[in-house]
Amino acid sequence: MADDIVKEFLVESSENLDLLDRELIKLEKDPGDRETLSSIFRTIHTIKGTCGFLGFSKLERLAHAGENLLSLLRDGAIRLTTERTTALLSLVDAVRRMLDNIEKTESDGDRDESALIETLNRLQKDGDPAAPAQKTEPAEPTAAPAPAGTHDAPKGDKGPAPENYVGEAVKLLGRILVEQGVATPEEVAAAIQKQLEGDTRQLGEILVERGAVKPQDVLNAIQIQQTAKSSISEASIRVDVNLLDRLMNLVGELVLARNQILQFAQGSEDSGLVTSSQRLNLITSELQEGVMKTRMQPIGNIWSKFPRTVRDLATGCGKEVRIEMEGKETELDKTIIEAIKDPLTHLVRNSVDHGVETAERRAAAGKPREGLLHLRAYHEGGQVNIEITDDGGGLDCDKIRKKALQRGLVRADQIARMSEREVANLIFLPGFSTAEKITNVSGRGVGMDVVKTNIEKIGGTVEVHTRPGQGTTVKMKIPLTLAIIPALMITSGGERFAIPQVSLLELVRVEAQSAEKSIETVQGAPVYRLRGQLLPLVYLNHELKLQSSITLDGAVNIIVLQADGEQFGLVVDQVNDTEEIVVKPLAKQLKKIHVFAGATILGDGKVALILDVRGLGQSAGIIDEHREQRESATDYDERFAKTGAEKQALLIFEAGNSGRMAVELASVARLEEFPLDRVEKAGEREVVQYRGQIMPLIDVSRAMGSSSSDRTDERAGRKLQVLVYTGNGKRVGLVVDQIIDIAEESLAIDHPARCAGVRGSAVIQKKVTDLLDVPGLLELAAPDLLMENEAATEGKPA
């Protein structure tokens, strides 16, 4: 048996099966759609015919059973029920399984499908007394759909002559005649009617006989029909993906060679060389674009499976869900399409399973019974955005908070500082799952973080937005292609590196005079104040253990990068240029160095390493935050229960009658002194002007409820000691009496909290010290401030 034929059969059938999935769903919505039904019938019939010819008898039997059912459906003898649709869909699955088997073992497998065949046979008669005598023989392949323009083809009719049968893409003769303006729709309809009444002649013949059209017009129309048919089959060819991959690699090489020649030509006086190199430049760019296009696939290719997925799932959980797609034709590189397939499927399943409510609950909430899942894809800024929106109940932020705490993913004080949006995005943390019961769909807690990791692996981002009661949107940003990427070239320690522009936010240059002032340190960690936000700085020289070479003018170049939703500034010696680079993988021995994503060859022929922004952030400890948070939160209790736990930097201070207190140094942004006369009143509250903002002051001891009416006099003439606490982008000044010390201590809380605002007491430096709970304190002393914060964050555009 010729392998080629089998291969051809497999390729063709798998395409046909995808089509079947879609068509069956379509048909279920509109059971009267005879055209779709006929198309389904034809597909199954073709599969049956071919595998009979190739000798796959099991597959043939199965397809045969399906065909019988379909022929009855097509003839209108039985109606399409959910049960029948499900049976037909499982037929599609079974055929797909067998095809897989054929691909692997060249036989249609030993799996017993007799149960399915049984079901298919049973459904042929089920519950429809009007059904005519059962057909055991499949309908002839000549059977064809009723011509366009009519839906009530006579039952059991063989339809018009086979030559008149045309595929969906080819227009029917009658329609062409009408479009040409040579026949009126009424005449065509009348002729079709005649055909249906038993006239076996061709449509054109009838029309000519009735004198409706001239024979020449019919011939012209047939000509048009023929051209359409042939151009459809000849407009595209199948190409081996490996060949495309090779082409892509070669184009990559060409781009590099082009870059090199351009660099030579730039320094050349020879105008001929300059002109031809420019021409080469243009042609290469066009070729690159063209070859990239061959690898592009519409996202619809993966979406097309979703109606089926959604239907099966929705039926499974007793929900009604409709799927809508927008931007199916948006194209992405093949490798990327493959990479996002699983994450997307997971998200769609999640939306149906957790997002959309049951029909009853929807009705009770005043929404249409049928839930809507909306998929949208569009290009924006050289990236593809994909949104998956459901109109379900939205994420329950309180539940997420509770869950995250319970699972020890974040600490209580961190949660308190988070905006609703940040809370919603906690679902992407490893080990998170809100589903109360584990379903067979999702809820195993290994979903969303895997989605996030996979999307980020290909340089994309994912985030979730939710509106309570209205629904949830998961938004992804995906690069168009992975092979050739724009990058920023930088120099550090005398070496050149490439930074993919996807992760690049902006470049900041701090002049020598101001560098010393504007780069501050928090506990030895350098930070830069970028528009009021603290940006942690990472020195590339230090990170890569390179010689630190100070820039000539002493200026500091900061590259603001983003990875994993975290921003940081990368300090480099020099920012050079942008260049299109071809990513080449690193040798196996070097892959373990996570700060490099690959290597590339530059215009001058030298090799440069490509920095992995995510890996860099991780090695600098910026991105791993979540994991650390989790770790610290999980052993939070243990740490307080046991001695000898991890050491923590604590700021020890005195606050009036409350005595000796301590607060984690990490939560304090700065220590400041304010002369008393700078304290102003805003309503009931004491405030100071601090860095162009109004910072409310909270007296710690007063907030703790110690009698402090006389304190104002006490501290007269002195300076106020203030701990600047930053949360949610807002500053609060905590007024204390005296700052005593900074200590590294392993915390062991001996006594639980004795009053609000205090987390408990511990022995620090051999003295009993109360641990301040800042969020708790704020809640106690200035609940309005907290609310203000929340309002401010909620007001932000999502």
Partner: protein, 156 residues
């Protein structure tokens, strides 16, 4: 190993080494290369070999031999591996010679240290010894070492 075999020979600190010629892709003279920060010591860098990026490995460092003088220009012996080409940096290239299995012996038991890991055996030639390297092991061990290096490089 009883059949005759062709060996591409080279020198490392006046010692005579070789790798089977069928593993050698080409021999090229010294090339400028790109240093890879954080990489194990024996990896000297990356070379652009006609558009292909090839990792260069210093055999002296790999075998624990003393460093070359700064002005020395080592030669690249590019060998094929399952994971693409890798260049072995040697002091000087020798001839391709034919050896047969009769003069082959396993490395002496007294051979220790890093060299032991990578030397497959010794050919007793007239007047001198030829140490044949196992390229696979040359590259494999390096991986293990690398994980250790990277661990020490990443303080948690």
């Amino acid at each position: 190993m009883s059949e005759a075999e062709q060996v591409c020979t080279f020198y490392l600190q006046e010692q005579f080494f070789g790798v089977p010629v069928r593993e050698v892709q080409e021999v090229i003279r010294y090339q400028g290369m790109t240093f890879v920060p954080l990489a194990p010591r024996e990896i000297c860098g990356l070379i652009n070999l006609r558009g292909q990026i090839v990792m260069a490995l210093d055999l002296r460092r790999r075998m624990g031999l003393p460093e070359r003088t700064a002005d020395a220009c080592p030669t690249n012996v590019v060998v094929r591996t399952d994971n693409g080409a890798v260049s072995l940096m040697v002091d000087e290239i020798g001839d391709v010679i034919e050896v047969n299995g009769e003069c082959f012996e396993c490395p002496p038991d007294t051979l220790r240290g890093k060299a032991r890991e990578v030397i497959r055996g010794v050919h007793k030639l007239q007047g001198r010894l030829l140490l044949v390297l196992d390229t696979e092991r040359v590259l494999r061990c390096d991986e293990k070492e690398h994980t250790e290096t990277s661990r020490t490089l990443r303080p948690s």
